[in-house]
Amino acid sequence: MIEKGACRFAAAYRLTGFFIAVFIIVVLSSCSKHDASKAKTGKGQSAMDSTLVIAMLGDADYLNPVIGTTVTSSNIFGLIYPSLLQSEFDTTTGLMNYMALEKKLRVLQSGQGKKTPKAALARTWHMSDDNKSITYILRHDAFWDDGKPIISADFKFSYQLYGNPVIASARQQYLAELVGADKGRVDFDKAIETPDDTTLVFRFYKPVPEHLALFHTSLTPLPAHRWKGVKPDEFRHSPLNLDPLGAGPYKLRNWQQQQEIVLASNRKSNLPKPGNISVISFKVVPDYTVRLTQLQTSAVDVVENIKPEDFTALLKANNQLEIKTVGLRVYDYVGWSNIDQAEYQRTGKFKPHPLFGSAQVRLALTHAIDREAIIDGYLKQYGVICNTDISPSLKWAYNNRMVPHPYDSAKASNLLKADGWFPGPDGILQKNGKRFSFTLYTNSGNARRNYASVIIQQNLRAIGIECKLDVQESNVFFENLQSRKLDAWMAGWSIGLEIDPLDVWGSDLKKSRFNFTGYRNPRIDELCELAKLKMDPVGAKPYWLEYQEILHRDQPITFLYWIRETQGFSKRIEGEDLNISGTFYNIDDWRLRPSANVTQ
């Protein structure tokens, strides 16, 4: 009896111990996170009703405009910090427009241009007649969140940070035209002048087109009074990075690294106003399937880059969702080495690549690849055949007279025959004893490129070309590409909104770091330089039309398709206006419908 009782007691004791252990573990874990960040929202559903949740693949690196480099970072610090000008992408022309309170670079057609300039810190600007300086007049009524006024000295201070090599800002390229930059170091005393608190003058060493001057002088400022004590070598790990002082429509409420960034509407902001939605939560959800599930269960409101293959199931499962697209900014291509890379590495001399050295062969390869099949099979209506690297969204410069090279394997075979390639005993083309066989490399983790590479392999096999596929880890792939170890590869570019392709096509391979193919055409260099000299971008249109014709003819790479990036949105979001400049570019104007009112 006594033994049984003791046994039971011991069992109950162990069980209690077990639950205590579980409890302690959970308490410990939640203590570390249940910190000072007290939410002021209501409970459960009401919290969701005033909170917009955006799922992100990864966390922001810094919420500091000088050193933040990821897209997530710039989306977020763009909401926290004020900006000198407001910019918007004009979808009718494809040109960027810049606005101060009382001045606009371009006057858009009626119905276009929804963005108001109310958030701009500049009242107006004046470009000098020689295009070598720009003077901004700032508004008087703009204040940092601590009540201090935003003054011209903040800009000068911030530009010194952007240009400091110890800080190593990724945006230091913006300072490349300032006085002194041509001699290797910007002379800030001469390059940026602040005669009074509301006058800001930038001086350039050469004439700069107005739109570029506006683009390059409107980097986001930091509050000088807050940051001036921070030494440059401590800038990247300063605790101030975790507590940004801004003036924009939102302010940082809480940042749990690798988990969530929570922004709250900044009630004090007049730049342009407090954000409409009270709380925006950027949640890190690394797994794609889980992001999709969360969108489907309405746990999040926005998921970027949804694969076209998932649309049907997603929309069927939840009719509160919709798919939105932005402009054509990203394209995939197959890169062919135009030059013998090994020879170039060894001797610095240019010799045509034994397989891809001839423009005729490259054209044949483009004809051999069924780009429509890739689009129909994978991207569907979210893909457009790509002719060159000037996007159809940049309407002012796009050459719409160009006819895409169609899929035509007979023509491809003839072109190859004309170049001396004939079928060998194994069915693979040969020229002077060399088989047309190569490896097509691509980076891992990209389902779209995997899909395309298999089709390309089949297409090429059909005309007697052996194409082996190899997928490499992204770091390895990029390093091999840079060190010119690959003969053929599939990759993609996301283009800038200002056309400047010299980095990719310039004949000086030391300067043009991204000319991985080794394509060299002096006329392309000339056209790019001529375009840069035009003070009005539209004046450079003839150069860009010719540029596209040359690339279309020479086929330095096979341009595959433009991708319309597709974003999943909850229908409870209203007022969103997506375009090529970004999914979140007018997020401070978005509104949330209470969940009960969302139409079924």
Binding site: K4, C7, F18, A21, V22, I25, V26, L28, S29, S30, S32, K33, H34, K38, A39, K40, G42, K43, G44, A47, M48, T51, V53, D61, P165, V166, A168, A170, Q172, Q173, R236, H237, Q256, Q257, Q258, Q259, E260, K283, V285, P286, D287, T289, V290, T293, Q294, Q296, T297, A299, A317, E473, S474, N475, V476, E479, W493, G496, D500, D503, R513, F514
Partner: protein, 321 residues
């Protein structure tokens, strides 16, 4: 025993340094560049150079090594390249509580469920119940965790929306009060811990079953039954204690798991734990963070083995250290 432990700890020091030195050179041999992110059109070519200079990567490798080792000897493992230059141990300190929570709960569930199933299977050997449990255990044991996790999400978050899919807490959970917050956290942990523990428990159950079967055939068990002890006492007191000896080794080797994290589960359920820290660091070529993680997991493997050996000696008086 104390001398034995001290000896083992002393041997561990050069061992861990050897591991760290090897890691230091191996990761630098791997292709890839910590400053690769800054090599893209629109970013000045100077930036990657400046970043490399900041990280001290422009020095020759032996100099980098000596600088590094002298810092490590002073307890400074450096700052992370990829996570806003936080000191690496700060990064780890943020991730560790999350990993320890999940792994701690998982281990408790693993061993409790595993041992229970193992005992039942052994005691009811060759019955329908035993076969059912064996087949079920094997079924779960052979299932990949990430797939199982996705299936659980589809079942319990999509088809029957009972549990949350990801994160540690609901939006606005801070306003639920401490108890509500705690319960919410618990709610979020159910799916991941279930996934991890079902898989692990199945393995442990197989161990316990095997070892129990061996033990209950021993003479002293027959003696215990013969002297009229109740079956419960025979099984739990006499048989189980002896049968658990091999399980102790398992406990020791589970120690690194508690701190190194379960990558797939952390990625799928969006927990910023150690598994993600390690893998992100590898992909970003974040050398200081990779080395600090290697230091932690290396030390824990050594300590875990030592812990298992000591436990063995404690549990079994026949073993002398």
């Amino acid at each position: 025993m104390l001398i034995y432990i001290l000896k083992r700890l002393l041997i561990a020091i050069p061992l861990i340094f050897g591991v760290l030195t090897l890691t230091f050179f191996i990761i630098r041999l791997a292709p890839g560049d910590p400053a690769a992110f800054f090599i893209q059109p629109g970013i000045s070519p100077n930036v990657a150079e400046q970043i490399r200079a900041q990280y001290g990567l422009n020095d020759p490798l032996p100099i980098q090594y000596f600088k590094w080792i002298s810092n490590v000897l002073q307890g400074d493992f450096g700052r992370s390249f990829s996570r806003a230059q936080q000191p690496v141990f700060d990064v780890i300190a943020e991730a560790l509580p999350i990993t320890v929570t999940i792994a701690g709960l998982t281990l408790i569930a693993n061993f409790t469920i595993g041992i229970l199933i193992g005992i039942i299977s052994a005691v009811r050997q060759n019955t329908f119940l035993d076969r059912f449990l064996t087949v079920t255990a094997l079924f779960f044991y052979s299932m990949p965790e990430f797939w199982f996790a996705l299936m659980m999400i589809i079942l319990f978050a999509l088809k029957f929306p009972v549990f949350p899919v990801s994160g540690l807490n609901e939006i606005g959970a801070e306003s639920y009060g401490p108890l509500g917050f705690l319960l919410d956290r618990f709610w979020h942990l159910i799916l991941p811990v279930t996934v991890l523990s079902i898989n692990g428990a199945a393995g442990i159950a197989r161990y316990v079953r095997g070892s129990m079967l061996e033990v209950i055939r021993q003479d002293y068990i027959r003696t215990a039954r013969a002297k009229g002890l109740p079956e419960n006492v025979v099984i739990f007191k006499h048989a189980l204690r002896n049968a658990l000896l091999p399980v102790i080794t398992l406990m020791g080797s589970s120690l690194p798991f508690i701190f190194s994290g379960a990558l797939f589960i952390e990625v799928i359920f969006a927990f910023p734990g150690m598994g993600r820290v390690t893998v992100d660091a590898i992909f970003a070529r974040d050398y200081p963070l990779i080395i600090a993680n290697t230091f932690i997991s290396g030390s824990l493997i050594v300590l875990g083995n030592l812990f298992a050996d000591v436990l063995y000696a404690v549990a079994d008086p026949r073993i002398k250290l």
